[in-house]
């Protein structure tokens, strides 16, 4: 899906836990997620703490979308 949307001319950020698979399948902008059963959250945290990490993932992704890349790039989230 990532590749098809990009083929249509729209940049894509792939948020995913297993970034090596994202690299293998050819995503250009990759943001690491938390874990496979809960990619965008963490049930071990309080609601307030969870909101902070969720916002960071989204903000990192938006920054990635605005960033020019010349090769496959992983944008680490700064927690």
């Amino acid at each position: 899906m990532v590749k098809e949307i990009e083929r249509a001319g729209i940049p894509v950020v792939h948020i995913c836990t297993v970034t090596p698979i994202s690299m293998t399948v050819g995503a250009n902008r990759i943001v690491p997620a938390i874990a496979i059963p809960h990619p965008l959250g963490n049930p071990a945290l309080s609601m307030e703490e969870e909101k902070v990490i969720r916002r960071k993932i989204v903000e990192t992704s938006l920054q990635a979308l605005e960033t020019e890349v010349d090769k496959q790039t992983i944008f680490e989230v700064k927690y």
């Binding site: 836990t17 297993v18 970034t19 090596p20 698979i21 293998t24 690491p32 938390i34 874990a35 496979i36 059963p37």
Partner: protein, 428 residues
Amino acid sequence: MNLKLELGYIKISDIQFSNESKVENGVLYVNPEDIINLVKEDENIASCAVDIARPGESIRITPVKDVIEPRVKVEGPGEIFPGVIGKVNRVGEGRTHVLKGAAVVTTGRIVGFQEGIIDMVGEGAKYTPFSQTLNLVLTMEPVDGLRPHEHEKALRFAGLKTAVFLGELGRNVEPDEIETFETLNVKEGIEKYPDLPRVAYVQMLQSQGLMHDTYVYGVDAKRTLSTIIMPTEIMDGAILSGNCVSSTDKNTTYHHLNNPVIHDLFKAHGKTLNFAGMIITNENVYLADKERSSDWASKLCQYLGVDGAIVSQEGFGNPDTDLIMNAKKIETVGVKTVIITDEYAGRDGRSQSLADADPLANAVVTGGNANMVIHLPKLDKVIGHINFVDTIAGGFDGSLHEDGTIECEVQIITGATNELGFSKLSAR
């Protein structure tokens, strides 16, 4: 001093119900009341029915959770399933008796959506090794309101306790055959076989949580670091399955006890290779865990100084990444690898087989394509519940036809594409 384990095989030719539970002249007699009383010690289990399923009988067992071989420790330290049923103590030495040909199968209302089917006859029987065992089948239902994890645990313990109870019946029976497995320490192995290539076995254990779990001496494998274990410890039940999921390529407890990679490495040991050691590593859901565990698996291979390693996977999907990381990192420290996996290549077999890949993973043994479609006949008797066939993995809406026949992917069958090679699929 070397580690030596003797397995004494008591060949079981039939299972029959009786007033007294015993093993006599190769027949396993079971008083079902003994089993029901044992299982119902756990107040989380509301009901337990006991059935016998023999090879060739028109019986379908589903949804299957675990399969366990009855064993008993008769000499040497420890007990079967140490840290779980037996006390925590080193196992893997002395003598263990095995009721060869018999198995305990657990079923009952579904816990996880990837539980399997065992057919004792017909097309489905070709794909599961447990169509060839004499099965004592426990159909257990939990008390109302039991959460899935507690439900899984209650059934897991009931199966293990039953297997230990049956194994105990073979304690004083003279085995028909004895097989000896000896593990040399690193120094002696090198001195004794200086010219043979040294090969390690790296076993990956399912540990994704959400009922994809494995236990090592009672420890949840997802909380472990990669470590070294003696292959004979596994024959005494050091590793057991907590998986309710992925019937086709999970390792049931029976698979662990009879791991064919270990048995084949022992057969080749001292002839074509030196079986230098065994490493276990997990398959967790955090990327950092995957990196750490594969780092440690490769580091242990490097430290043992082996020439080659066989890496077996359990399950599919994101564990493909753990598999590829292991292969890549072990190759990078100068150790040749062969990986054992299975494939999800689509019903026509034309899709990419694994979710991840790397040029260093260049030697692969496959358990087969789990997406292959098969057709199962109606069988006379169902043990368990037939109504989950559409919802367990490999089934789909309409899998179960009104006439009782089933159209499904082969992954619905327990053990069909097992990644230890404990299966019957072949391209020949």
